[in-house]
């Protein structure tokens, strides 16, 4: 028997490319991505980490401001030494006996712990971490609302730009800002989670011990409750629906839980008393950042421009506008106009809403705008992400300190307005009796100056007795009788800056009672010829 066996047709295989003359060719397609699935990352995440890395690095290298920070560290040192909180002002001799509720004791302790273990680099790193955390939380929430990385990044950039001046000053307010951003994130989430019932009270326990702005957080929750109630009322027209609405109940309970959680602090309910009192301290009215926002200045103009942008966006946005948005923007805007310092709370809200409605408007009015498709999750992006994070950390002052024990020099780590040399002089020549110092330098003098130095005022202006504060202003403003004030307080040493006090310096130079003890381009120290 005969038959024909047909040979199967040859299977076509992808032939390997012709090897390049003289070299090996790597076929990347043969590489297997062995990164576990849960660790795989996307291009989007890498971009976020890059942005946050830049934020971290920028704020890590930014010099430490010459004001509040040092006073807070001094209080932190006192608390760590005494292992107790002072009940009356402990550091300013002219404010002895003034009751003190230290609303930022935990921040001060953390700050002190950081500077003693990691030095100046640690402080820079700590503030950078806080700001990066704020940026990350805002980035996440905006991304969630807009589904657009570019607009989410816009929100972060807007937030940093609007708050640039406030973020420059390292102080417990940063801790409050972190807490607020977390609260903002949770209260603007479309789907509340079970863990929010634990997170929010825990957040407020921490917040109430980190910074006095916790009261703003409680108000925020109440505002969100009111916003939800208004929306419901507008939609249903029924008051009864308010009492049964889950969201209203949830927000109200969160507000109450937050208020109760804030009682867990060393002062208990007295903390609320202090929060109520704070706004009424007359001394704060003399401080620029507590005054009406100067709309002619750079920050005022930026604030106004952003407000106008928001108004325009709200005009054209196709998104439904929730009442909480209007309440928060109007309330915070008014607060910022009356007291410039509120800009720090207004900025993240404005940035979030700016990005949200800008994205919606662009999507509505320019639908042809190309969008970058999301990249697949791959191990490659995980590596790039990790690498970027490492680079930003390793090259930062904090990274250098942790890994190589390299401490930045004070001249690089501190702002150029810090009176390093003048205070060193005073440390070598301890002043006798009362010192008169500018408000801006009181904290640094207390921290870096001679032990037990009798500063006139420091940044805790609300603690300075009213008469003392008025007398301080009388001297720096060279009002009638200013020279007598120095005699009346028995001032034997004066520390002033050339930049803002040149007129006062000239008068002291002409006064036979005073001689110059130290003088450089930045600061001058006067000594009384016949000490009191």
């Amino acid at each position: 028997m005969s038959g024909t066996v047909l040979e199967p047709p040859p299977v076509e295989t992808q032939s390997a490319p012709d090897p390049e003359p003289g070299g090996h060719q790597i076929d990347l397609s043969l590489l297997e991505d062995r990164v576990p699935e849960q660790w795989k990352s996307t291009r989007r995440l890498t971009a976020c980490v890059a942005l946050l890395g830049i934020v971290f690095f920028v704020f890590c290298v930014r010099p430490l401001w010459h004001t509040d920070l040092w006073g807070h560290l001094a209080y932190g040192k006192l608390i760590a030494t005494l292992r107790a909180l002072p009940s009356t002002e402990p550091l300013m001799p002219l404010a002895k006996g003034v009751p003190v509720i230290d609303t930022a004791w935990l921040s001060q302790l953390i700050g002190y712990g950081t500077v003693t273990t990691l030095g100046l680099a640690g402080l820079q790193g700590l503030s950078a971490i806080a700001i990066t955390l704020c940026s990350a939380v805002l980035l996440h929430r905006t991304l969630n609302r807009t589904r657009s990385l570019s607009f989410a990044m816009l929100a972060v950039i807007a937030f940093l730009w609007l708050d640039w001046a406030q973020l420059a000053v390292v102080r417990p307010q940063l801790a409050g800002l972190v807490c607020f951003l977390v609260l903002l994130h949770r209260t603007t989430s479309r789907q509340p989670r079970m863990f929010d019932w634990w997170l929010i009270p825990s957040l407020f326990i921490a917040w109430a011990n980190l910074h006095g702005s916790f009261i703003f957080g409680v108000c925020w929750l109440l505002m969100m409750t009111a916003g939800r109630a208004i929306d419901l009322l507008r939609r249903t027209g029924s008051v009864r629906s308010l009492t049964h609405d889950v969201a209203v109940r949830r927000l109200l309970l969160w507000s109450e839980l937050a208020a109760v959680a804030a009682l867990i602090n060393p002062y208990g309910i007295a903390l609320y008393g202090e929060a109520l009192r704070f706004g009424s301290y007359g001394n704060l009215a003399s401080l620029t950042e507590w005054q009406v926002l100067d709309v002619r200045g750079l920050h005022g103009k930026v604030f106004l421009a952003t407000t106008v942008m928001l108004v325009c966006l709200y005009r054209f946005t196709p998104r439904r506008v929730a009442s909480w948005e209007a309440l928060s923007l109007v309330g915070l805007s008014l607060a910022t106009l009356t007291s410039a310092r509120f800009i720090v709370w207004w900025s993240p809200v404005a940035a979030l809403l700016l990005a949200t409605h800008a994205r919606a408007a662009v999507h509505r009015w320019w639908p042809w705008t190309p969008t970058v498709p999301p990249s697949p999750r791959t191990g490659k992006w995980s590596l790039v992400t990790a690498g970027l994070a490492w680079i930003f950390f390793a090259y930062s002052p904090m990274g250098m300190r942790l890994m190589h024990h390299r401490e930045p020099s004070p001249e690089r780590a501190l702002s150029s307005f810090t009176p390093i040399a003048a205070v060193s002089y005073l440390k070598e020549h301890p002043p006798r009796g009362q010192v008169f110092n500018t408000y801006e330098w009181g904290d640094y003098l207390q921290w870096a100056g001679p032990e037990g130095v009798q500063v006139f005022v420091n940044s805790h202006a609300h603690v300075v007795p009213r008469d003392v504060w008025l007398h301080y202003m009388q001297v720096v403003e060279e009002a009638d009788g200013w020279a007598d004030i120095l005699d009346r307080y028995g001032v034997n040493t004066i520390l002033l800056d050339h930049l803002n006090r040149s007129s006062l310096i000239k008068k002291l130079k002409d006064d036979a009672k005073w001689k110059i003890g130290y003088d450089d381009k930045q600061a001058i120290v006067f000594l009384r010829r016949k000490p009191i």
């Binding site: 002895k96 006996g97 208990g268 007398h471 005699d487 009191i532």
Partner: protein
């Protein structure tokens, strides 16, 4: 709790829990914190009422009966110059306060034109009498506040010139805490209401603290601390720090009232321990420097100048000044030295010289001169009586009783001075 449903019972339960938490927190709070919280919510003062442990204030007795400093005759002549013979119209409260402080409430005079201690006290505590002197075209001396009585003070002739001087003078004069005080609305107030208001009102860094510190110490001892309206915790130690603060020449009457108040605090501390060791040391050190300054700043004729803090420079480069300023410095220094221990005295010769000068100067003044500078000479009268371990009223009333007709025909001053 599920985010899909929140039972009504849970909501109500949460309300009770929240109320309970706040109530418990309030109950556990320190009294001072509760007070501050209530004051923030209601606008009321945060100061607590200070319990005064006595009906009449403490007195600081003089230490020396030294006839070499001043004789009986000389004392009579000096006191004769400072009897409170004032015109009844537009009667200056500052004059009455000084006179009352010198003569005390128990003072009685045979001369009907001279105000008795009771009459002077009545003038200061009764708005009606003040009104009768000044008319109703001016602000009242005694001003009602929400829960106390304040005394108007300032540069006006119709006001009490110095802060808490009214209180300090009446305190030293022996006023009772329950002494009725009649304000324009004639409501039932007492001296305690004035004292409590002064305590609330007091600010450590105000310009004048000399009389406040003296009055508070005389009433409050042995209590060491208290709070003012703003909740600041004050103490006599802080008072000392405040009194020693600043150039010595500053303060009322060439800085001498600060010295008297410090000495009074030390004397009260001897018995009632109102100062800590550090506070006492601060006050004592200051007085030592005052002693050293007056030791070298006395002029050959015995007077101290108003720039006595300049020490020897005050004599080397004397300043031109009117007589009354020399009387202020000399009279006030002699006053505090009379209640000071010997360790704080300049050499005895200095005291004798100062006394000689001030006695001679006082006796030589015309009634018109005294009338223009009564307040300063009143201190001289008080100081000289203290150096005989007595008080002007006690001495004068005995003197009048023992020397009937002396007032109408006093001894020849020149003869007395030259004896």
């Amino acid at each position: 709790m599920s985010h899909r449903t929140i039972p009504t019972a849970a909501v109500w339960g949460a309300q009770f829990a929240v109320l309970a938490a706040f109530a418990a927190s309030y109950a556990l709070a320190k009294p001072v914190d509760r007070q501050i919280l209530v004051s923030e919510l209601t606008g009321r003062s945060a100061a607590e009422v200070v319990t005064i442990p006595r009906e009449t204030a403490l007195t600081i007795e003089p230490l020396y009966d030294d006839s070499e400093v001043i004789s009986d005759d000389e004392l009579a002549l000096v006191l004769a110059q400072v009897v409170p013979r004032f015109p009844q119209k537009q009667l200056k409260p500052n004059y009455v306060e000084h006179a009352l402080r010198t003569w005390w409430m128990k003072a009685r005079f045979s001369d009907p034109t001279v105000m008795s201690g009771e009459q002077m006290k009545d003038y200061l505590v009764d708005h009606g009498r003040y009104l009768a002197s000044w008319g109703d075209d001016i602000d009242p001396l005694l001003q009602e506040r929400s829960n106390g009585v304040a005394v108007r003070w300032g540069k006006d002739l119709c006001a009490s010139v110095h802060h808490d001087h009214w209180l300090a003078c009446l305190t030293e004069a022996g006023m009772s805490l329950n002494e009725p005080v009649f304000t324009p609305n004639r409501r039932h107030h007492t001296a305690n209401d004035v004292l409590q208001e002064a305590i609330r009102d007091f600010r450590l860094d105000e310009v004048e603290t000399e009389w406040s510190s003296l009055a508070f110490a005389l009433w409050m001892a042995p209590q060491k601390t208290w709070r003012n309206r703003s909740g600041r915790e004050l103490s006599f130690d802080l008072m000392v720090d405040r009194l020693v603060r600043g150039d010595k020449k500053l303060g009322v009457c060439a800085g001498t009232h600060r010295v008297y108040s410090l000495m009074a605090l030390i004397r009260l501390d001897d018995e009632y321990h109102i100062l800590t060791d550090e506070g006492r040391k601060t006050a004592w050190s200051y007085l030592e420097t005052v002693r050293d300054a007056i030791t070298v700043s006395q002029f050959p004729d015995g007077h101290w100048p108003s720039n006595w803090p300049d020490g020897a420079d005050a004599v080397k480069k004397p300043v031109e000044e009117e007589l009354f300023k020399k009387v202020i410095a000399t009279g006030h220094h002699l006053e505090w030295l009379a209640i000071a221990p010997r360790e704080l005295h300049p050499p005895r010769e200095h005291i004798l010289k100062a006394a000689r000068w001030v006695i001679r100067t006082t006796i030589q003044q015309t009634p018109s001169d005294i009338g223009q500078r009564y307040t300063f000479f009143s201190h001289v009268g008080n100081a000289m009586a203290l150096w005989r371990k007595t008080h002007p009223a006690d001495f004068w009333m005995k003197w009048e009783a023992d020397h009937p007709g002396w007032v109408d025909q006093p001894a020849d001053a020149t003869a007395v001075l030259n004896r």
